[in-house]
């Protein structure tokens, strides 16, 4: 950013005073690109696959997928805005799933203990991640790859040690099943509502509270943020713990839905959540992004991921579309960000 964009050129905004200004303001938002992407993807699949895609079942198919990824993508987005990454979620999801299944299934203890242990595992892994990133100064990408493998190994080892198997069944009591793993109307996972709740809380924190301002500042320039008195260390550990917690939450709800848990599974979440966040307009290097963008990115991703099955195309084509979408989203987001930077209030002459 050495070359300052010129500001005294004609405003990028718009000619009209009120209407134009608000349109310009919309375009300058971090999620501008993801809105367009979402509209394009929705229109495409509606045209190609027709009625079924816009039926309740069609909506349920991608909403169910979106909810699980979305709960993980939100804190991953926060971390990315703060300038960090977390890949360990790929191991935390199955670890939490199994913890719950082993405690409440294999040992037949009350669900509340199983859930607490599982969420505790997520918080613990997050705290370890944050602590290691701060203490070693190693980039969080590397640290969390390390913890991912460690957690994967421990999960497998402990599971075999305790149950003699790599998968465990669990039959949660109806009330727990209702809270975490039921299907509303027979097709909409209750996780969708949890996702909405997560999004609302995180949007409030990021965009409305001073805490959110700290996250942006930390991602923009960590040293300056620290010098301005922001407790960057506490913030880093907190964000990693939120990420571990969210991953564990998804792990628990998966165990409730499928009534069983396996050692494998969860790895797909790593790349998928990062893709949702990036499609949603979060800057990979930190300092820029929005919760609305992350939610829209998640929906876009899930629509492609599931919508492809409603078309006559080879499902593998879905991955190609997602790849292209990712590239396009980043390019588009760069353009919109540039527009936001070069925007200046229209000169009064």
């Amino acid at each position: 950013m050495a070359t300052a964009a010129r500001t005294d050129t004609a405003a990028t905004g718009a000619p009209g005073k009120t209407g134009g200004r608000s349109l310009g303001a919309l375009i300058r938002r971090p999620e501008a690109g993801s809105v367009l992407g979402l509209v394009a993807v929705f229109a495409f699949f509606t045209l190609v696959s027709g009625q079924i895609f816009v039926s309740p079942a069609g909506f349920a198919s991608w909403l169910n997928v979106a909810a699980e990824i979305g709960i993980v993508a939100l804190p991953i987005g926060l971390l990315m805005i703060a300038g960090e990454l977390d890949l360990s979620i790929g191991a935390v999801i199955p670890a939490a799933s199994l913890s719950f299944a082993i405690v409440s299934g294999h040992y037949d203890m009350p669900e509340v203990i199983g859930v607490a242990v599982a969420l505790g595992v997520g918080l613990l892994v997050g705290a370890v991640n944050g602590f290691l990133v701060l203490r070693t100064g190693v980039p969080s990408l590397i640290v969390t790859i390390g913890t991912m493998f460690a957690v994967m190994g421990l999960t497998l080892g402990l599971s075999v040690l305790l149950t003699g198997s790599t998968s465990t069944n669990v039959v949660p009591a109806p009330v727990w099943k209702a809270i975490f793993g039921t299907f509303i109307g027979g097709m909409f996972q209750v996780t969708i509502f949890w996702w909405i709740a997560f999004a609302a809380v995180i949007a409030y924190v990021l965009h409305v509270t001073p805490f959110g301002n700290w996250i942006f500042a930390m991602g923009g320039d960590k040293t300056s943020a620290r010098n301005a008195g922001i407790p960057t260390e506490r913030l880093t550990i907190t964000l990693f713990m939120v990420s571990g917690f969210a991953a564990a939450f998804v792990g628990v709800s998966q165990a409730m839905v499928y009534q069983s848990a396996q050692v494998a599974g969860g790895q797909a979440f790593i790349f998928n959540s990062i893709m949702c966040v990036v499609i949603g307009g979060v800057l990979l290097t930190g300092g820029f992004g929005s919760v609305v963008g992350i939610v829209l990115g998640t929906i876009t991703f899930s629509m492609v991921n599931q919508g492809i099955y409603f078309t006559g195309f080879d499902p593998n084509l879905g991955s190609v579309i997602i790849g292209a979408l990712l590239l396009l989203a980043v390019l588009m987001n760069d353009t919109f960000r540039q527009m936001a930077l070069s925007y200046s209030t229209k000169k009064k002459s």
Binding site: A4, P210, N213, W214, F216, A217, S224, A228, G287, L341
Partner: protein, 277 residues
Amino acid sequence: MTEPVLELRNVNKSFGPIDVLHDINLTINAGEVLCLLGDNGAGKSTLIRTLAGVHKPTTGQMFMDGEAVSFDKPKDAADRGIATVHQFGGTFPLMTIGRSFFVGCEPTRKIGPFKVFDRKTANETAVKAVQEFGITRIDDGDRLIGGLSGGERQSLAIARAVHFGARVLILDEPTAALGVKQASHVLRIVLEARKRGIAVIFITHQVTHAMAVGDHFAVLIRGAVAANFMRGEKSREEITDLMAGGEALADLDTAMEDYKDSHDGHPPQPASRATVA
């Protein structure tokens, strides 16, 4: 004469075996602009980083208002009113003017039980602060910092420091990347800050800029104060020579002799980058 705002006595700084600052003695008064001059690698940035609490002096003492101070971290210096503005001013290019102005001390208002960031107050305060410095082109607190020109960004950063009660304002090459017009904006703001009784430490490689605002000049050569004089005591040519190290080499020789006399005949260790032209 009142106490100087900031005083350095025999400040030395070395990084392991590398001595960077030698016996620095300087005083800075309120409402005065001190121009810190010197070639690349002379130790100017190291000196101001020491003032700002980034480094601790190896030996020597610093005084504020006559009272000995010691900073463990930049926050300590900032709490005493020492504010540093870096070359590119705003360091959060993708934050809005209002949000970046208040990083770390966000204004809040209450909505029911919730404490929320008060965007309106933040934007209005930030815009007002920078407009008071004569930058009237900034009138929308929702603009992103990265969209401002270099001069505007510097001005905003200075306005921010002053708003939060800076008493010593440290500017490390604020005009280096700027064109003539933008630089003159920044110089005007330096003068405005001085008028408000702030002590300004101004680093520059441009004699014109130094002459335009400086009340007091200190030239660093290889980490030692080679010349320390007030406005009008030296001509433009002399200052240019000093900055280029011409006449300064002669000064340095005498400085070295003095140094040897007082240090059992040891010459000071040269700074790691020994390229004084």
